[in-house]
């Protein structure tokens, strides 16, 4: 589904990704972990098409097509979804309109008829229940005045409405209390299916107790330096990241983490 090969990227002349390799197949859940500043969020944003980053080498394909060539909206329409670490507040755009417009753009691309307001209301009620959000959110401006937890649940609500093939969750667990974390995880798990894939970007192992990954990757110094199964996440939780830096001990990684 997603193949990333030797991806290099920079922002404002600073090299952030220095050769990332990643392969995600249908039905798989991958976790990308790593210390702060290792490039996790950059990778997530690049996969969604953020223009602040320049890809300087390597390639990425999604279902066989060149991903890096696509505009962000094209990626969304083909089934890539990024749950933002910091969801953007958009004053004056009501949440129902925002959700329905996005859904209808994607439906249009799939050759389906747009959903009218009534049908959409039926759909959204079901999805709201999934993330335990109140219908009153629909009338509010997108993310404006939402608490941290509400913003993250709203991201999962969008995921539920848009039903992407590949969901990338960028630090969706940050700032969540344990109850909100469980709600988010329940939403993600219930949307998962054998033909869909999920990439969970996180700093902590905690979320992975609820969204259990098939693969765990450690991103350090702009490269994936170690991969394993879910036990790797537990090991990282106990031992931190330094031992991996010593184990891999390449110059670039050592530089990046300052050991």
């Amino acid at each position: 589904m997603l193949r990333v090969n030797n991806l290099h990227a920079e922002a404002e002349d600073t090299q952030i990704l220095k050769g990332v390799d990643l392969e995600v197949n249908p039905g798989e859940i991958h976790a990308i972990m790593g210390p702060n500043g290792s490039g996790k969020s950059t990778l997530a944003q690049i996969l969604a098409g953020h223009e602040a980053y320049t890809v300087t080498g390597g390639e990425a394909t999604f279902e066989g097509r060149d991903l890096l060539d696509m505009a962000p909206e094209e990626r969304a329409r083909r089934g890539i979804f990024l749950a933002f670490q910091y969801p953007v507040e958009i004053p004056g755009v009501n949440t129902a309109y925002f959700l329905r417009t996005g859904l209808n753009e994607i439906r249009k691309d799939r050759g389906e008829d747009p959903m009218d307001a009534m049908d959409f209301l039926g759909l959204i009620r079901e999805k709201l229940a999934l993330v335990e959000m109140d219908e009153s959110f629909l009338k509010r401006s997108v993310n404006e005045g939402f608490s941290g937890g509400e913003k993250k649940r709203h991201e999962i609500l969008q995921l539920a409405v848009l039903e992407p093939r590949l969901a990338i969750l960028d630090e969706t667990d940050s700032g969540l209390d344990i109850d909100a974390l469980k709600i988010v995880a329940k939403g993600v798990n219930s949307l998962h299916s054998p033909d869909k894939s999920t990439v969970v970007v996180t700093h902590y192992q905690r979320l992975l107790d609820y969204i259990v990954p098939d693969f765990v990757h450690v991103l350090m110094g702009g490269r994936i330096v170690k991969s394993g199964d879910k036990d790797l996440a537990h090991e990282l939780e106990q031992r931190g990241y330094d031992w991996i830096a010593r184990e891999t001990a390449t110059d670039s990684v050592a530089d990046a983490v300052g050991v």
Binding site: E73, V88, G92, V93, E105, Q158
Partner: protein
């Protein structure tokens, strides 16, 4: 503008002579109507104009708006009778579907009874409410008109207001007696039928190719405890015609009145529109102005509201869109002349192309106006690198116990918000449209009259859609 000899050589003083001569002609056409008290005001106004003429760029309040193209142009009176064949269908785009109140239509400055609501009897009906043309009101209910007409909007040292006052002939008069309630808004539609110059090489100012001018005059008087709303719409039939609308509106509000005023400005792309609105508010008034400016070559609005009694709550809301070479200048002035009053002001502008915007928001708190609470905010969105806004809050505070604040922001659309929308499947163009409309929508959403809100939302959406389309790369 034409390079015609007579015009390019003309100086402001020559222009002054031209208007004075025009006034003498106007006086002759009045056929003995020059003995009225109104005519004394007209004369006083033309004398003021003779003395001060048009404002120049050295005038602080006109520093950012160049009126030279208006001064240079020879404006003639618009034709007396509307062009034959003007039908209600042609008016439809300028009305508000679902609005049920009285509608008065003025074509080129003259009341057009056949295009207006049939029930607009001028003589006061049982409720005592009067809605009708100024020309008729002056004849039939002078006692209601004359104490106010020309007595509120100042014309000394205000060249354009002086000319409007000197040439008062027609317009609208709305009178609400004490305690009266208007069930639905009165709609005043001032329409220009000016045509585009057939030969662009011979622009206005050439002999036989002058541009028309109208002087719409509106007077609204609401006595104590009355409640109502009036919509003034200004529009041109021809999309790019050149003409000048020089409008003055006076609103006089008695104690404890609740009043909403809408000004919807949709002049032709080539038109000049210079207007002033003067509001006097007595004790306990609740007044809101919605000032929406959608098109026109050069637009200037002067809005002054005098809080002339305790406990007034006054709101000025405004939205202006300008694209291409358009210039929009909104000058507002809130005179806190009494204690314990509240004023709120919220203006937004969306500028694209080479458009220029000016916002001046003056809040003047007089020494007696203790416990004033005044808040002003102005936000501008620039959709192109060449668009410009000048925003000038101006607080003059002479009382010591006041709460006064202002905020002004200017910027582009938030790139992170654009990216967020795109990751949800919206194209960049659609995302820009959604965000720009949300920006403008914040002002439109303050409009309580649903038919007006709905129609304006459509118009703004269409205007911004066209603007964003022309700003798109390639």
């Amino acid at each position: 503008m034409s390079g015609g000899d007579a015009v390019s050589e003309s100086k402001s003083t020559d222009r002054r002579e031209w208007y004075l001569a025009s006034f003498r002609g106007f006086e002759r056409s009045l056929n003995g109507g020059t003995a009225s008290s109104l005519h004394r005001i007209r004369r006083a106004a033309i004398d003021c104009f003779a003395e001060t003429g048009f404002p120049g760029r050295r005038d602080e309040s006109w520093r950012h708006t160049n009126i030279a193209p208006i001064v240079r142009t020879s404006f003639r009176d618009a034709p007396d009778s509307p062009p034959p064949g003007l039908s209600a269908d042609q008016l439809a785009p300028f009305t508000y579907p679902g609005l049920v109140g009285t509608q008065l239509v003025f074509v080129d400055g003259h009341f057009a009874p056949s295009l207006s609501s049939q029930e607009t009897a001028l003589s006061p009906h049982h409720s005592g409410v009067v809605v009708g043309s100024m020309a008729t009101a002056l004849k039939e209910v002078p006692d209601l008109v004359e104490p106010h007409l020309g007595h509120h909007a100042p014309f000394a040292e205000e060249g354009f207001a002086a000319l409007n006052t000197a040439f008062i002939r027609d317009g609208a008069f709305v009178y609400l007696p004490p305690g009266a309630r208007l069930d639905a808004p009165v709609h005043l539609l001032y329409l220009s039928t000016a045509r585009c110059s057939e030969d662009p090489g011979h622009g206005p100012g050439q002999e036989g190719e002058e541009a028309p001018v109208t002087y719409p005059r509106t007077l609204i008087v609401a006595e104590d405890g009355a409640c109502g709303s009036v919509i003034e719409s200004y529009a041109g039939l021809e999309p790019s015609a050149l003409y000048l609308t020089n409008a003055v509106t006076e609103i006089v509000l008695g104690a404890e009145t609740r009043f909403e005023h809408y000004k919807i400005q949709r002049e032709s792309g080539g038109a000049y529109h210079i207007a002033s609105l003067h509001v006097t508010e007595a004790r306990g008034c609740d007044f809101t102005s919605h000032n929406i400016s959608l098109s026109g070559r050069l637009i200037r609005n002067d809005i002054t509201t005098v809080l002339d009694g305790e406990g007034v709550d006054s709101t000025l809301n405004g939205l202006f869109l300008a694209s291409g070479e358009e210039h929009v200048d909104n000058h507002t002035s809130i005179e806190h002349a009494s204690p314990d009053c509240v004023s709120h002001e919220f203006y937004k502008g969306v500028l694209s192309g080479h458009a220029r915007g000016v916002f001046r928001g003056k809040i003047h708190v007089h020494q007696v106006a203790q416990r004033t609470d005044a808040y002003q905010t102005n936000q501008s969105l620039l959709l192109s690198d060449d668009a410009e806004i000048t925003s000038k809050p101006q607080l003059e505070i002479y009382a010591d116990d006041v709460k006064c604040s202002h905020g002004s922001t200017t910027g582009q659309l938030d790139e992170e918000a654009i990216f967020y929308l795109r990751t949800r499947g919206l194209s960049r163009d659609v995302a820009l449209g959604v965000l720009t409309q949300a920006f403008a929508g914040e002002i439109l959403d303050l409009i309580g009259c649903e038919p007006v809100h709905k129609r304006l939302a459509e118009l703004v959406s269409a205007e911004l859609g066209a603007t964003l389309h022309s700003e798109a790369p390639q």
